[in-house]
């Protein structure tokens, strides 16, 4: 079985390698969901790979398609001049008549340019020929077969109808790609793609988010087989010291290598400071790198905060040891984030990743607690896969009984450090507790801590 790339990297992952050569593909979705863009991108990718293609459109003039495609850097007129592509604006009736004639103009064109892929945008327009389901089914069947017999991969777009539970098209085609533009309770929308069927090859089930980028569609698979299908990772030896004397003693030497540590506590208790101090201390070893993801505070504020303790983070950035990534939490698509995190970890190979904060990172999926659990599990898995340590900050609600913001994130982590305060006469005092730490002997119980001019100090001595 031969597969080819759609040109949409993430979609190829979802399709476990791409579309099957010579298959029929239905791209369905509501208006504006990206059906035509996906179809055109697949044709353009074919042209780039040496497979000429044809775009048949019933609703847009070629100029409109040229203009829309130019946004993504696809120069369709040049491709046409080079005889690698043909964009034809016609009617369903004409196509129907011509395709049945072996020597008709469309068939001649297929032959002339050696077309391997064809996009029919959209099949919904064939309903203008007949309203009868039986006739339409027959029409689609013969159209599809006559093209497939010529060795073409056929892409149909189809408008999604909410009243139509299922349609005959779905039975006839080999692959169905469904695009939706879902409203979320956080007043945003998520674009989602789902492969409902892929005859002859596997696909990743479920909905995957996607977006329109400057290069066309980009799909962000909800799980990555290379990471999520590995069931065993050896426990790494050694520790990453936090460099905070008392904390390392409590932890039994430091954070066990390859651990995800959840850092909880109410606002202002010192979670970010503890993370910054750990980064500062870890990067004293020039061979180490760290990535700090910020979703609340701007990088400049964090740099200044580090400076106030005498920690020169700008130097680490210049030395290529530290990457600070700020992303406004309202804009975050968690699947895109995870995909990029994976790519970044592959490229950078950090020893430490800090996420400040976990709830803001999960903001756009926070309405669905199961989704949050799935994404946190994936986040920890990606970090673990790359044999890295992490500090995941999850502020707790003041007075709440649960440890982190969601109340279950600790299950996905190897360790939990809780920072808290107690009221003492007319003052509040900070304390720290190693609540959980897998694979390492550690000291339990509450221990007093303070934020001093040099950073965090923990009143623990052995």
């Amino acid at each position: 079985m031969q597969q080819f790339s759609t040109g949409v990297k993430g979609l190829d992952i979802v399709l476990c390698g791409g579309l099957r050569v010579g298959s029929s593909v239905l791209i369905e979705g509501a208006p504006g969901s990206g059906k035509t863009t996906l179809g055109v991108q697949t044709i353009v990718e074919g042209v780039k790979a040496g497979d000429p293609g044809i775009i048949l459109t019933f609703e847009q003039f070629p100029d409109q398609i040229y203009r829309d495609s130019a946004r993504y850097g696809w120069d369709l007129p040049t491709m046409e001049r080079e005889n690698k592509l043909k964009v034809i604006c016609t009617s369903p009736q004409v196509i129907n008549d011509q395709l049945l004639q072996v020597s008709g103009p469309i068939n001649q064109l297929i032959k002339n340019i050696g077309a391997k892929r064809i996009l029919i945008d959209s099949f919904t327009h064939f309903r203008r020929i007949s309203m009868e389901e039986t006739n339409l089914r027959e029409l689609m069947f013969s159209l599809m077969n006559s093209l497939k017999q010529r060795g073409l991969t056929v892409l149909f777009t189809k408008e999604f109808s909410p009243v139509e539970a299922e349609s005959f098209e779905e039975y006839l085609v080999d692959t169905i790609i469904s695009l939706t533009y879902q409203e979320t309770p956080t007043e945003g929308r998520r674009r989602l793609v789902e492969v409902l069927k892929s005859r002859g090859h596997e696909h990743l089930p479920g909905k995957h988010s996607f977006k329109f980028s400057s290069e066309g569609l980009q799909v962000f698979p909800r799980h990555l087989p290379q990471i999520d299908e590995i069931n065993e990772l050896k426990v790494l030896p050694g520790v990453l010291p936090t460099g905070i004397e008392g904390l390392d003693s409590l932890l039994g030497g430091g954070v066990p290598n390859g651990s995800n540590i959840l850092l909880c506590g109410p606002a202002g208790v010192g979670k970010t400071t503890l993370s910054l101090q750990t980064i500062h201390n870890a990067l004293q070893d020039r061979s180490r790198k760290a990535v700090l993801f910020l979703h609340e505070e701007m990088p400049e504020y964090i740099l200044r905060r580090a400076e106030s303790f005498g920690w020169d983070f700008r130097k680490f950035i210049e030395q290529g040891q530290l990457i600070i990534k700020y992303e406004d939490f309202i804009q975050i698509d968690i699947d895109e984030y995870l995909l990029k995190l994976n790519e970044m970890m592959q490229a950078v190979g950090p020893s430490l990743v800090v996420v400040d904060t976990l709830p803001t990172l999960m903001h756009n999926v926070s309405h669905d607690i199961q989704l949050v659990a799935e994404k946190i599990a994936r986040l920890t898995r990606v970090i673990k896969y790359h044999r890295c340590n992490s500090l995941l900050i999850s502020p707790s609600t003041f007075g709440a009984k649960q440890i982190g913001r969601f109340g279950f994130e600790e299950s996905f982590c190897d360790g939990v450090i809780i920072l808290g305060t107690v009221s003492f006469e007319d003052a509040r005092k900070r304390h720290i507790e190693v609540y959980k730490l897998r694979n390492q002997k550690h000291i339990t119980g509450l221990h007093r801590m303070e934020i001093t001019e040099e950073g965090i100090r923990i009143f623990y001595v052995r």
Partner: protein, 239 residues
Amino acid sequence: MITYNLGIRFSPLEGIVRGTIPFGTTWQVRGESGAGKSTLGFQFLMQGLRQGESAVYVACDEPATRVREDMNFFGFSTEPYEQEGKLVLVDTYESSDPRVLCIKDRGDSQEFLYILTRIVRQMPRPCRLILDSLTSLSAVYSTKAFISLIQDKNRLLRDPEVVIMDIYLKSTLEEAGMYALTNAYDVCLDLLFPDEKGGVPQRSLRIHKLRTSGYDPRPFPCFIKQGVGLVVDKEFYVR
């Protein structure tokens, strides 16, 4: 290579104790107000410093700067030793003197132990540590928490080259509590006012407990001498 004689030299006990008391021991000094406990503490500190040892003095009853003045008034000049890094004064209130280290909240046992341990571990060896007095510290803890604090302190600071002297008012804790505390010490010294002679209090020193060697358990009369400290009449029972 410098080698130390790890026997503690302390003149008030010479002649009463058979043999020497080594470093690594914990001492308890108990007595009524005015019996000379602090003077004994100053003397213990100065005799160590004068032999090249180091010392840490934790002032719990009054500001450390005031303690320095008291010692100077008595004839013990601390300045050269402080400048040399051989003597560290620790305040359990706030101090504006940069040479005086500070435990801001003595009611916080974790802070108290952490800072004290850090200071003592950084001192040159051998080192004498004097806490004067633990009575005022006991006021901010329950009996159980206080005993636990003392036991933790002695465990954390136990070092073959460090001797710890804790000073108490006699009735710091109720009898059962004081009895439990005694177990935390190797050496227990009582400063007493047993008799009134001619209306003048007659001080005496008695070794109540000594784990490391033999001793004479009887009370020995003593007096305070300016610039020296406690002078014990060791011939009292011979005469």
